[in-house]
Point group: D2
Chain length 346, copies 4
Amino acid sequence: MIKVGIIGSTGYAGGELVRILTGHKDAEIVWYGSRSYIDQKYADVYRNMFQIVDAACMDDNMEALAAQADVIFTATPQGLCASLVNENILSQVKIIDLSADFRIKDVKTYEKWYGIEHKSPEFISEAVYGLCEINRNDVKKARLIANPGCYTTCSILTAYPLAKEGLIDMDTLIIDAKSGTSGAGRGAKLPNLFCEVNENIKAYGVATHRHTPEIEEQLGYASGREVVLNFTPHLVPMNRGILATEYAKLTKDVTYEEVKAVYDKYYKDAKFIRVLDKGVFPETKWVEGSNYTDINFQIDPRTGRIIMMGAIDNLVKGAAGQAVQNMNLAFGLPEDEGLNLVPMFP
Amino acid sequence: MIKVGIIGSTGYAGGELVRILTGHKDAEIVWYGSRSYIDQKYADVYRNMFQIVDAACMDDNMEALAAQADVIFTATPQGLCASLVNENILSQVKIIDLSADFRIKDVKTYEKWYGIEHKSPEFISEAVYGLCEINRNDVKKARLIANPGCYTTCSILTAYPLAKEGLIDMDTLIIDAKSGTSGAGRGAKLPNLFCEVNENIKAYGVATHRHTPEIEEQLGYASGREVVLNFTPHLVPMNRGILATEYAKLTKDVTYEEVKAVYDKYYKDAKFIRVLDKGVFPETKWVEGSNYTDINFQIDPRTGRIIMMGAIDNLVKGAAGQAVQNMNLAFGLPEDEGLNLVPMFP
Amino acid sequence: MIKVGIIGSTGYAGGELVRILTGHKDAEIVWYGSRSYIDQKYADVYRNMFQIVDAACMDDNMEALAAQADVIFTATPQGLCASLVNENILSQVKIIDLSADFRIKDVKTYEKWYGIEHKSPEFISEAVYGLCEINRNDVKKARLIANPGCYTTCSILTAYPLAKEGLIDMDTLIIDAKSGTSGAGRGAKLPNLFCEVNENIKAYGVATHRHTPEIEEQLGYASGREVVLNFTPHLVPMNRGILATEYAKLTKDVTYEEVKAVYDKYYKDAKFIRVLDKGVFPETKWVEGSNYTDINFQIDPRTGRIIMMGAIDNLVKGAAGQAVQNMNLAFGLPEDEGLNLVPMFP
Amino acid sequence: MIKVGIIGSTGYAGGELVRILTGHKDAEIVWYGSRSYIDQKYADVYRNMFQIVDAACMDDNMEALAAQADVIFTATPQGLCASLVNENILSQVKIIDLSADFRIKDVKTYEKWYGIEHKSPEFISEAVYGLCEINRNDVKKARLIANPGCYTTCSILTAYPLAKEGLIDMDTLIIDAKSGTSGAGRGAKLPNLFCEVNENIKAYGVATHRHTPEIEEQLGYASGREVVLNFTPHLVPMNRGILATEYAKLTKDVTYEEVKAVYDKYYKDAKFIRVLDKGVFPETKWVEGSNYTDINFQIDPRTGRIIMMGAIDNLVKGAAGQAVQNMNLAFGLPEDEGLNLVPMFP
């Protein structure tokens, strides 16, 4: 039984970790960290867990936690994990960080986009970028796993095979993404009030969103060259789900079947990636509550572009589900253990 | 392994049966019945099931199904199950009927409220009303189980202990219920269009809704007298969930603790009923996707009334989940097998 | 041209006052009060008003305002208006208070339900309860108008004619109300976040909601006796709208036509009350954005009860629209000036 | 008083025409055409209009209508207007067609994208494309006005000034648009059911949507060259609103101020276009219920692209509001008559 500690268990991603791990037969949560709700019963913060979780919330004491747990999930704002991690801790437990602290290899890029100083840059090179479908083997051996961002998971997986195979001109890649509101977190802020979000759609972080360099870095590795792209997130009046619509010029004439074969080459054995049937485009509702990434594409011969689309549940494949997938890999369990969550419809 | 056939597998309740049974380790679906989608792949009708269900839909042939299956779920409009069932079929399989056909013992009452002739009244007396928490022992032995309605499940469970103990004056009982839109089914009807339902709330079936006599009958058994009450359903702009707010005069002065003790007496061992902490009122979101019924109450000394509130997911405890709970009981499995669904939040 | 000052112009009710008054040909806003946004452009707080309102927000200085304005709307939390009003101010301007401060005649009742001390009880008896359809003549002469609450407006108007005519047993009256989320205000609080409200319905303030004594008082005047009732509000995942479903025993056998005649007697000339056709029940969407109250009823001969239903837009007839209607009456303008807002659908 | 006939008055765009014209002081609706609801009271189809509109629906008899009306709005599926119009009718009344029949000058393009034969190609050249802000002078003299599509209005207005001034490379233009569900019409179709749309976002018509050639044609006129672009619409779970996010390479180094000046050059006097303040991006909620188009842009020096964003209410500026704006121009009235609709928030 893997002993799990969660720092930041009362945010939406933390809550989803609890939901998923509750149904995981080889893991047990031993620490419900939450700076905001110390000593309060977890089920008073998330009443869906009434009579399911009996524990109270605890402080963010990583040293104490490291002594008790086999793995720590940090579902916290950027900066916190980097400020707490050290060699002593990493020698005792694996850390799966759901924040951005160890996702970006170039510390200057991190500090520029996030506007804070990185407190433990010495661990950046060791950290493994936990996009399981791409870095599966590295994840298995990792002590410190940087769990990818929600937008980035969806954006990268959707374009990865074509970037890797050189089928798309990376200079022309544009990602227009749409997210449900749980991505904005559980903080009590005016723009996230029901009446402000409902019956509304808007772009935000235009040309400045922090997930941009993360996407660029990973697609850079895939394509073997530096990538600079436009990424525009939008806020959609729904709780969960991310849809990424991606546009790029094809580098050569290809048929539907040829592109399909490329996706199959990379994802045929990826249990959580579903390349849909021809003409069926991803909808966030079809993956809700599950760890799936649904992907499809359309070639436009008029413009010479391909439009790629991907959909995930931002709290599952975009956060907690992928974190558990990483845990499974890192502890030698079946990759899908505890993750056979059937999407809920409607 | 229990072989399961579903007639009406492509309605919302049928789809939820498929979702739940997919995760049930002792059951296997052998027949995806759907008159509307014969020979089409089930996963083309519900794309959340892509790469999870590979089967195609089949006609509603109950004779053929009876030969293959151990249990048949009929998730169909009223009248269909009653027109198909016969002794030959019941001698081969158990039937769990999610329609209203066998819920009401008095065939005249059924025919009056539903406006159709009952085609097999000879089986009504045999049928067991499958409200597991109340009729557990009868369900275990049943061949034909009448799965309760969504509104009725929520309405009855919320008031049952107090009705049974004579704590409320049944002549004063009023049930004001609110439901998400999946309760209206997947038929393409104008009143169920997004733009008609969204940003709107309305009452419907005022003083005439068909779940009324079902509630009256069951609460009549509980209280040992004839019950006539007001039940008013409302349509709420959300996918899932039913909240029942129930009002009645108390028959004597009681304290919070005394009423709580009554609920505990009946529900302490009911795994799927959660009587909430004092002052915490049920919200449909806290049970979404799960088989729970959340219940609480408030005594109003000013008026001498008690306000009871109950919440369920209409597609789970209100339909498919309860049906599987009935199946578990009828086949001697643990009551919660396949039903340990953690509510999804947000 | 009536010079209007608004204290609390940046809450949702204040914003709606601005929207409505912008289209009112005999009124002009001279003061956009907002303690939270002093000196910020109003259109930066409500961007729908970009290029429509050019003014900046000002402090809540009622003395200064009284010198400039003909009428002051206070759309503020309870307690504020009572703490600012005095004879000097009332001798200069009319005040229409959208808070609860002057709605309840018995100061002890006010202080008990609101939990605060009333700072100017000497003006309570002078204040006119501004439910125009009922107190039209008093409103015309008033200096200080207590604008009714949102739930109360809907609840009272729905039952008023039957209470007045003695057709319903007031001891049996139960009001089950449902409101959109704008009623909770624009404060940044966790329970009002999109993800907490969306896909959810809950009761709140059960047996303790502050609108209860206001409804009881007014229906008490109507029925000529003390009224004690149950009022239960619910939060619905929509922006606007209140639906009240009201239950009471009829005091005698009456037909549909007789009850209809009673409603017509009181509301035939009420421009903003629409008693719907037989069998058509109110829906909040049909009044959205307008000053209408839609009302209908259903007699249930089985239980001897009548179910009355009313729907309003909580920000219009339930707040700003009614306040402007009061202003029109108090200044001798046509009652509907600026209020011929056609409901928006969908 | 302009006598107005509406063919197709019971669709969502038709309903919005009725809402707007009801408040227009120089227009009067004399014919509520609706093939589906002949002889039924209009207010029974749209109950928001109860006690506002007393008329019944009439058949689509354009000859009879032409004899009574000064202008006919056709808010009908494509093909209908083209099949009804003729010289005799046009000699009697002006026609403002909200369908696509006369928007595209090249009949072959129309027939290819819409898949139907054009029944009156002889009127295509005469028809004026009614995008008021661009073709104001032609509209004033027109007999036959092709009212632009909802997506196209938003897409074109957002990019027009930069296309006209050659500031963007038209070969790189990509339009990613998001629409509320009222754009799908009031037909009872499964994909438009509440439970299918709610909590969901999807792309549709990818690389094949019919508004594409219309946008290309108009931006082709603006830029003086043939334009071929990608346009991808998405369905958003909200009633109203379109947001267009548009990407293009800048043709030269420009500052924010220079681009702003270009927008101002074209739109400074356009009453219904609001170019927002720097850093404020359009949200559909801020224009809801109004005839505004809100526009802004962000230059991304990293990629050399500009991201332009525009928001409209699809039923107002995207349909009925623009149609009335066209009527005003064609009849010599002030362009904004009846259109000073303040956006409703929340």
